[in-house]
């Protein structure tokens, strides 16, 4: 009887233990992998349409991670040798699955499209997990790293927080999730495809400030020269990094396998060892190891437990009320013409607001530049026509100076003076640009008026002898006579307005650069921009033609 009791107890204990063993991530992963391997071994399974991605990995005996090649400490390549934290994580994942890793180079802009095109199986490429990307790819949880965006600049430069950023140019990489936040603080962006170029741009002073993940800059701050010249100004937007697979049903088992593997690697310190070997920061991974050793997290459902996994960074942008129609239109264009049209400026409220304001500001700039050109042409023309050297010579000096200054430099000078007088704002930048464009083109047109005045005086002098100060009538005729030159510089002023973006005027070029820094569709966006400005200039040419006809008619009547 006693023996039976003991046997009963052992059997009960065995049943109690078995489910517990099945609930560990290790057991769940082992079962998932075994099932997929078995499926891959079934004849015809590998050639079936839309084969499961995990099964396909076993069929082809390979996993295709998308990795970076120009991101020091995380993904670099010298010849055929790849190294970095991400590379080693991808290798560890492939090894655990028992397949070969076949790497494909990606960057911030190409990684998601390459996954969507099924040219890679998994992204392991410094990708921050935010809610915006959640709809595009299936993130692997728990996360395998965490970073924040840090602003780096010369030590001599006094930048401490967001207010010091307004009006400055910050170099960033396209597709970086934190770009929208930088734009919202009135900074201008200079966009680059690869983060790897940013330190070089800082060193050769092409960029004064650069914003990128702190993980990226860690490598450069190891260099004594770099650390002596530059410092981290401030950080923002902490974001966990996730591996990611395609958001399709056929990728779900691969995603599940990677979820479980990530859990195990965090718990067992595999990621931690890889981080140490690659000299990247380990504090996040140390904290995560503690989390994933906790009994409630160390289960096969741990990756779905909100108490264990980190939330994605909330980067969702409010959609426009007409986003559905925009998407439908894009699909219609694709279906009818094959053209991959993308209209990011119409899909989210921040982009739509930037776009609308950009158009309005561009039109204000064009009208303002035309008015300022005409005004300065008349004022400087009159001054240069004056018989008083106190008026004539300063006006000539201004004209020669403005003619000798490249357009960008004139704009920068106008902006520097404006910002010394007024606090930075978009209106001040637009005003400074209008004054600069007006002065540049108005001085040339004014010179043409003065030359016309000179010829008129010569003609009148020979007819009626020398007269005193120029009369209003004579000046009016000089304006009529120089109509072609005036119109030419008015058109030039309109054509020059996009360059106002250089000093932070939020016109359409500036707005679209901001939009493309956090959204896709660069080709469509910049094509639209070119069409917009060509149309604006054509309209200005047409209006100027009318204006010139009116002046010539006046001259004929006179």
């Amino acid at each position: 009887m006693r023996v039976w009791r003991i046997l009963l107890f052992v059997a009960a204990a065995a049943f109690a233990v078995l489910p517990a063993a099945a609930e560990t991530p290790d057991a769940a992963l082992a079962k998932l992998v075994a099932d997929a391997r078995a499926e891959a071994a079934v004849p015809g399974a590998c050639t079936a349409a839309n084969v499961d991605r995990l099964v396909r990995a076993f069929c082809e005996n390979r996993l295709r991670p998308g990795i970076r090649e120009y991101y020091p400490l995380f993904g670099t390549r010298e010849g055929d040798v790849r190294s970095g934290y991400d590379i080693d994580v991808a290798r560890a994942v492939a090894k655990r699955l028992g397949v070969e890793p076949v790497f494909t180079r990606v960057n911030a802009a190409s990684r998601i499209p390459l996954l969507a095109d099924d040219r890679i199986d998994v992204i392991v490429a410094t990708m921050g997990h935010n809610t915006q990307r959640d709809g595009q790819v299936r993130f692997i949880r728990p996360h395998y790293y965490q970073s924040e965006t840090t602003v780096v600049g010369p030590r001599a430069l006094s930048v401490k927080d967001w207010p010091d950023i307004a009006g400055r140019t910050v170099c960033v990489t396209i597709g970086n999730g934190s770009n929208a936040q930088i734009v919202s603080h009135n900074a201008r962006l200079m966009l680059f495809d690869e983060a790897g170029v940013l330190p070089g741009q800082l060193k050769d002073e092409t960029c004064t400030l650069a914003a990128q993940d702190d993980s990226f800059f860690d490598f450069y701050f190891i260099e004594p020269d770099f650390a002596a010249r530059f410092e981290k100004k401030f950080g923002f937007a902490q974001v966990p990094w996730g591996m990611a697979v395609a958001r399709t049903a056929s990728s779900e088992r691969l995603a599940r396998a990677l979820d479980l593997m990530s859990q195990i690697f965090l718990r067992d310190g595999v990621f931690l060892e890889i981080a140490r070997a690659n000299r990247v920061g380990t504090s996040f991974l140390e904290r995560q190891q503690v989390v994933w050793k906790r009994p409630e997290c160390n289960t096969d459902t741990g990756s779905g437990n909100p108490a264990c996994v980190l939330p994605a960074l909330n980067a969702d942008l409010e959609p426009t009320p007409f986003v559905a129609r925009v998407v439908a239109f894009e699909k219609w264009v694709k279906a009818e013409t094959g053209i991959d049209l993308s209209l990011p400026m119409l899909k989210t409220m921040p982009a739509w607001m930037l776009f609308k304001d950009g158009i309005v500001n561009s039109l204000i700039l064009v009208v303002g530049a035309l008015a300022a050109t005409l005004l300065f042409a008349l004022v400087l023309g009159a001054a240069q026509s004056s018989r008083s050297i106190l008026l004539r010579w300063p006006a000539r000096a201004i004209t020669i100076t403005l003619q000798s200054s490249p357009v960008v430099l004139t704009l920068v000078i106008a902006a520097a003076v404006a910002h010394a007088l007024f606090p930075y704002s978009s209106a001040v930048a637009i005003g400074a640009a209008i004054v600069a464009l007006g002065l540049m083109n108005g001085s040339n047109a004014g010179q043409a008026i003065a030359e016309a005045m000179h010829t008129l005086r010569t003609e009148r002098g020979s007819a009626r002898g020398r007269e005193g100060i120029p009369t209003r009538e004579l000046f009016s005729r000089a304006v009529n006579r120089s109509a072609t030159q005036i119109v030419s510089f008015l058109i030039n002023a309109a054509k020059g307005t996009p360059i106002a973006s250089f000093i932070g005027a939020p016109e359409l070029l500036s707005a679209l650069t901001d939009i493309t820094s956090f959204a896709s569709g660069r080709a469509t966006t910049y094509s639209l921009l070119l069409v917009f400005y060509v149309v604006v200039v054509v309209v200005v040419v047409w209006l100027c033609g009318k204006f010139q006809s009116w002046l010539e008619h006046r001259q004929a009547v006179a």
Binding site: P154, A156, L157, C171, M190, D193, E194, Q201, D204, E205, T206, C207, T208, I400, T401, Q403, S404, S405, P406, V407, V408, L409, V412, I413, A416, V417, A420, K495, G496, T497, P498, I499, S501, F502, L509, T513, T516, R522, A523, T525, Y526, S527, L529, L530, Y533, V534, V537, V538, V541
Partner: protein
């Protein structure tokens, strides 16, 4: 005084940057001469081809350089290849290409006029094309400063990166004045060369007319 304000390598860097401005202008002008020459011939030929050339010249005249530069920068993939050869333009080439619509339309306008003069039996009238091209070249040198916006280290970019490190507006204005002086001297020298060319051609014309 200046060395107290400016970094030691500012002036060498500025001169090196200005060489880049000239390099960009030269590339833009050579490409503009090739394209503008073809367009001028097509326009003078008349017919459908002439109408297409006229429309194209009008569009190129209306295209703002700065927008064209950003268009090229964003439309051509960094890893673009043609027959296996990388064709993505460098920063300098992007700026030069963005100036081609201006230079080509300018060359087409002035080239067509020069060809008309040549056909009308006035080779010296046609030679006015040379000073006009010289004028365009110096306009291109000044316009190439737009490259500063996309990270090309030309003259203005050198001045602007120096300006960032200067604390007061007064110091910055001194720096900008130096920039204007350097570019101004170059520009005025160019215009002096152009005037010399014009006078020389004028003298040739007068001598031709005066000859029996």
């Amino acid at each position: 005084m200046m060395s107290k304000h400016f970094s030691a390598d500012f002036f060498p860097d500025l001169l090196a940057g200005m060489v880049v401005n000239f390099e960009i202008a030269a590339i833009a002008l050579v490409l503009g001469l090739a394209l503008g020459g073809l367009l001028a011939l097509a326009r003078l030929g008349g017919g459908v081809l002439g109408a297409v050339a006229t429309s194209l010249i009008g569009l190129m005249r209306a295209a703002p350089t700065f927008v064209v530069m950003f268009f090229l920068l964003n439309i051509i993939p960094r890893d673009a290849t043609l027959f296996g050869i990388g064709v993505a333009p460098s920063g300098i080439m992007t700026v030069a290409l963005s100036l081609v619509p201006y230079s080509a339309s300018y060359v087409a306008d002035n080239g067509a006029e020069a060809l008309k003069q040549l056909r009308a039996g006035s080779p010296l009238g046609a030679l006015q094309f040379l000073p006009n091209v010289t004028r365009a070249f110096f306009v291109l040198v000044m316009s190439s400063s737009a490259g500063a916006a996309i990270g090309v280290t030309e003259g203005i970019a050198v001045i602007l990166r120096e300006a960032v490190l200067l604390p007061s507006l007064g110091d910055k204005l001194v720096l900008f004045a130096v920039g204007i002086l350097f570019f101004g001297v170059t520009l005025q020298a160019g215009f002096a060369l152009m005037r010399f060319l014009q006078r020389h051609l004028g003298r040739l014309a007068t001598r031709d007319t005066a000859a029996p």
